[in-house]
Symmetry: C2
Subunit: 90 residues, 2 copies
DNA sequence: ACCATACGCAACCAACTAGTTGCATGTCAA
DNA sequence: TTGACATGCAACTAGTTGGTTGCGTATGGT
């Protein structure tokens, strides 16, 4: 969609780590992702900070989310990545 | 090389415009590029600001530069782009 | 009904960033 | 040599960003 939002989203290492996790397990709740990031990658960060990151990723179209009960399900979407680099690669 | 520098470099729309120009005409001086950006794309920005952007792009490995007389020759390099997106695309 | 839990919202803060202006330097042509 | 010109360097500034803390809300199990 909007190139700018995609690149801005990718500029942060924490968000890229989140994409790493989400590209591995395509569907997980925000809670799962948060726990996974803190435990497996030992990053010291609050839940709210990660939620803000998810908002950024969602605005860029890299993640879509859906409220399911009290959980927020997250799904990774690689389409923006493909379309965005085609400008310079051939 | 360093993923972080590449993504940070790509986060700015002006720098992406510079890459557009450089990917079209692979070799041009900083002066040419500056003139081209200001005239053809009508961006209002100083020479010094563009020079700083080039520094960022060069640190990311997306552009290499070489002093040739009083000019600074710029060359576009797409290799970092390829290696950097392979993590999520298959 | 109750309460733990998964999440949303908002205010605040320090650090970074993109931009500017001003001045210095080196190169080339006349 | 002199001067125009392409570039480099440094200080400063406004705006953005990633993070925090504190509190509110809705959902689901017991």
């Amino acid at each position: 969609m909007q190139r700018d939002l995609v690149f801005k989203a990718l500029a942060d290492p924490t968000r890229r780590l989140m994409l790493d996790e989400l590209s591995e397990r395509k569907e997980q709740t925000l809670y799962e992702l948060t726990a996974r990031l803190i435990m497996r990658h030992e990053i010291a960060i609050s839940r709210q900070a990660l939620a803000k990151h998810i908002d950024v990723l969602e605005q860029a179209g890299l993640v879509s989310s859906e409220k399911r009960g009290k959980y927020r399900m997250l799904v990774f979407n690689d389409e923006p990545l493909r379309s965005v680099v085609n400008r310079w690669l051939k």
